[in-house]
Amino acid sequence: MFTYLNDWFPVFLSLRVAVIALVIVTLAGLPLSRLMARREFYGKEFIEAAITLPLVLPPSVIGYGLLMLIGKNGLLGSLLSQMGIQILFTWWAAVLASTVVALPLMYQSARAAFESVDVNFEKAARTLGAGELRVFCTITLPLAWPGIMAGLVLSFARALGEFGATLMVAGNIPGQTQTIPLAIYFAVDAGDNATAKTLVAIITVFSFIVIFLVNRWSRRRNIRLR
């Protein structure tokens, strides 16, 4: 079946984009969700709504918003172009689109996971002499881990599958910004069924294996920690 695939570029690009987006989503999403799970402050609901919005907006709206942000006259775009950097229609724009749509999934899973950790465990750790960093790394994070893992998987899957916003900000430049979902769409469009089928098979099998392994792992862990 793989012999039908002449161009492996979309596969590697998709993986690269999804992995980088996942790293950004994790680094931004974990501290953010931890903060929102444990602190009350003015304007919290507003920030929360803003983070979650990409989950419910049509991809074309997100794409349009990102165009406004990183376009030539956009807020970020004009700043970057002064520094001689352009990310519009490069694969970094695909990373940006994937990050924005994946962040709400990470945020929601991680926040629920952090909230589910009994505060008494954290308090007990403090009375035993642990500082905040140690409390987080040895108590909060391990106890919230199943939920965070779910967030990681969902975010990765969402980043891997991102289509609409990516098309608008990164375009469909074969060999440069063409990810698997874009390649499938344009292969079908061009009547190249062999390529489309192969890419569909690859992304389906890969996603299935990831979800299967994570589910199996989390069930075993829950049995142990019951």
Partner: protein, 215 residues
Amino acid sequence: MIFMLEAYIKKELWHFDLDLSLSIGSQIMVLWGPSGAGKTTILHCLAGLHKPSSGYIRLNGRTLYSSREKIDTPARLRRIGYLFQDYALFPHMSVRQNVLFGVKGNKSDFEDHFVDPVEMLNSFGVGHLIDRFPHQLSGGEKQRVALTRALAASPELLLLDEPFSALDKNTKTRLRKELKELQKRWRIPFVLVSHDEEDASFLGDSIITLPKGKS
């Protein structure tokens, strides 16, 4: 070293104001009162998990909290052990990892205070459970492990929140005796919170009765 706790705590809660002063040496003080009287809040204030509205807390000459001097030592530096009502054993750690969590790696601490937590588990009769996880322990076993964990951090004061409420009657009677002996051996102040009159009369070298919170 003579152990001494002196505290005056004022804490405004949403339905009433707590106002309590206590002064104890190496003995067991029982704070007795109905639920909703703010007993746990007092322990939280002493341990540094809540901030009182005003007052002071002094332990062995160290001022841990003082609203006037603007001192508020964080919980981790107070050297106050806390036995939680449900014991709060870390569910993802074995008994061994739990009791070693608070042991300081610091040499000078070892010399005068250090107690081997493993030996202590043995003396409590739960040494054979060292590689088990909290969900595999009975209520009484959990309490002994939690006590070991709190004492292994060599605290200068031990706070106990309803330590017997999760236990059946026989275990309760046995553990009460054990606790009384334990305090005599450790010679640090214990402050125990309970709504059970028997706990108070059996254990309390001194008893403070808290009124029911006014609504």
